[in-house]
Assembly symmetry: C2
């Protein structure tokens, strides 16, 4: 089979790798129909995270079940499935609390020993607990929206949930990548009033407005804080979605929150200084986040996508065949694309 592999900083190839097969009786094999490239794939791509040799990559995919292990109960060959960016056993204490990214037997696609999502087939552990199957194959035009539930839409939703977004609340969104943009949709879906998006990129500003941003602030850092306060009568916003993960973005998030407000953070933190903790304390601002509990949120988000009331597919602004994945990474690295779709099997 063919799969995307990473060989060092900015060295992406599409290679022949072994076909996966059932290892545990709870596994299934999925033939991937559509995958995509994530902003978080850029960390190893840029060499910020160390990588193995010919490391598999990608963690978002939808596709069709082609083989099931003997202990799999709820899935059959032919089922169209959506995979969260991590697998989980569904039975450990964290899973029972809905914290599926904390599963004691869980893992992430692309980690050593697992398949990446950017490849023709994926072996899925704990398949009954991990995958969500649709009752019948969805129309092709819905696949991109369904694929966003694998990560970015569910992660934007997690940011909004962790920031306690509630009807009528004011919201600020730090980060105009696909997750931040989906966070705008998520905040609106939860009833937010004013939603202020921080973005200086015209293409992303346009999507932000399409997704429901009421204001767009192009400034960064202290100027962004001043601009958001200006837009909120000096008060700051009730809820902040932090979708970047840098020192500056987290500090901005904490300072645009009103005193007593809440920050949901879903950008993997890459910090150098503990100052944000003192800022949280001084401003009485709450912080909660982490890897999104995608499997927990999938059913409700899927229901809205199928009903036509939720469509995050505009985050994809470039579509390439799997074989051209390297160009997809370049386009995202250079911010020429918000998010790149990788087509594998349009006949699925």
């Amino acid at each position: 089979m063919r799969a995307v592999t990473l060989h060092g900083p900015r060295s992406i190839e599409v290679s022949d790798v072994p076909d996966p097969s059932i290892v545990e009786p709870t596994d299934v094999i999925v033939k991937v129909a559509l995958s995509c490239i994530c902003g978080s794939d850029l960390w190893p791509y840029r060499g910020v995270h160390e990588v193995g040799s010919a490391q598999r990559i990608g963690h978002e995919f939808v596709g069709t079940v082609v083989e099931v292990g003997s202990a799999v109960g709820s899935l059959r060959p032919g089922d169209f499935v959506i995979s969260p960016f991590s697998w989980s056993d569904g039975t450990c204490p964290a899973c029972r609390d809905g914290v599926t990214t904390g599963c004691r037997n869980g893992g992430f696609w692309g980690q050593p020993g697992s398949d990446g999502g950017q490849g023709e087939f994926v072996r899925v552990p704990f398949a009954d607990a991990t995958l969500v199957a649709l009752p019948e194959p969805p129309p092709r035009e819905l696949w991109p929206a369904l694929l966003t539930l694998s990560d970015v839409m569910a992660t934007g939703h997690h940011a909004a949930v962790c920031a306690h977004v509630a009807p009528g609340g004011t919201v600020g969104v730090v980060g105009d990548g696909a997750v931040g943009l989906c966070g705008i949709l998520a905040a609106r879906r939860l009833g937010a009033g004013q939603v202020i998006a921080l973005s200086r990129n015209p293409a992303r500003q346009a999507v932000a407005q399409q997704f429901g941003a009421s204001d767009v602030v192009p400034e960064r850092g202290r100027d962004a804080v001043a601009a958001v306060r200006e837009l909120t009568g000096g008060r700051g916003v009730d809820h902040v979605l932090e979708c970047v993960g840098t020192q500056e973005s987290l500090e901005t998030a904490i300072h645009i929150a009103r005193r007593g407000g809440s920050v949901g953070f879903v950008g993997v933190p890459h910090l150098t200084d503990p100052k944000p903790i003192s800022d949280l304390f001084a401003r009485s601002v709450g912080l909660r986040g982490g890897g999104a509990w995608v499997r927990t949120y999938l059913p409700e988000l899927l229901s809205d996508v199928m009903a036509g009331s939720l469509d995050p597919s505009a985050v994809f602004d470039l579509t390439l065949p799997l074989e051209e994945a390297a160009e997809g990474y370049r386009a995202m690295d250079e911010r020429r694309a918000i998010k790149v779709l990788l087509e594998l099997d349009s006949s699925a």
Copy 2:
């Protein structure tokens, strides 16, 4: 008048200072009946925070109103009042949200230009909004319990509220100072089930058990984490009250929380490393805290003290006249006392 003053590291005196007088029409003057020494007074006492010359100190007091400004509406001379550790105007956006420690016109007793709580009289700004008056002078034996509402009991309650303590939840308390001990009472009051106190001091362990701790863990750091997990079937606790503020205490707090759990933090953070933010992210643990919204909580806590269902007074294990404040500081610095009462006017 006589007041406690700090002159440098471990240099406490009781000095003659000018009597306060009404400055703003919203001020009142309170004759202090009872004050006390707080764990947070030890930061400047130990020289961790820089101090001015002959700096006033102390931020907890109850007493009697002796003079009122012309714009004061709800208070009269003779009223017995409890003061939060900070003043607040009651009208700014933060105050309207209940975040009284975020008041844009607020301040803290003992800051330059204000009176300290450890002195015979205090000028109270925004007195209508700041003070809580009792309908009639309370019996003398209730004064210590009422004084805890000035800070430590309200702060323990804030930690529990910020950790989202709910009926039946499991709770861990990091810190066996007066605030941590009050946090145990607060967690029980909010319906907590198992409450695990971290303490290695026999006198404090005894108060922890008196206040409702179901388990006491004497270990620290990694060993404490292992012990708490052992006591919770490997899961960790739902809610953690972090009442210290050091790097180690915050890391312990985050790691004794279950995945998806919550930490309420009320120890002023003195951190050297941003690792706790990555730990929060990796463990899906929420963090909220800061200076307690004492004025917001005072009515409900006062009601329980007056009804006899809440009595935190056991945190005071040494009582001294104001003139012996220096010995009180030494006793707390050397951990010979949990919390020291300073008596000013037993006839009030």
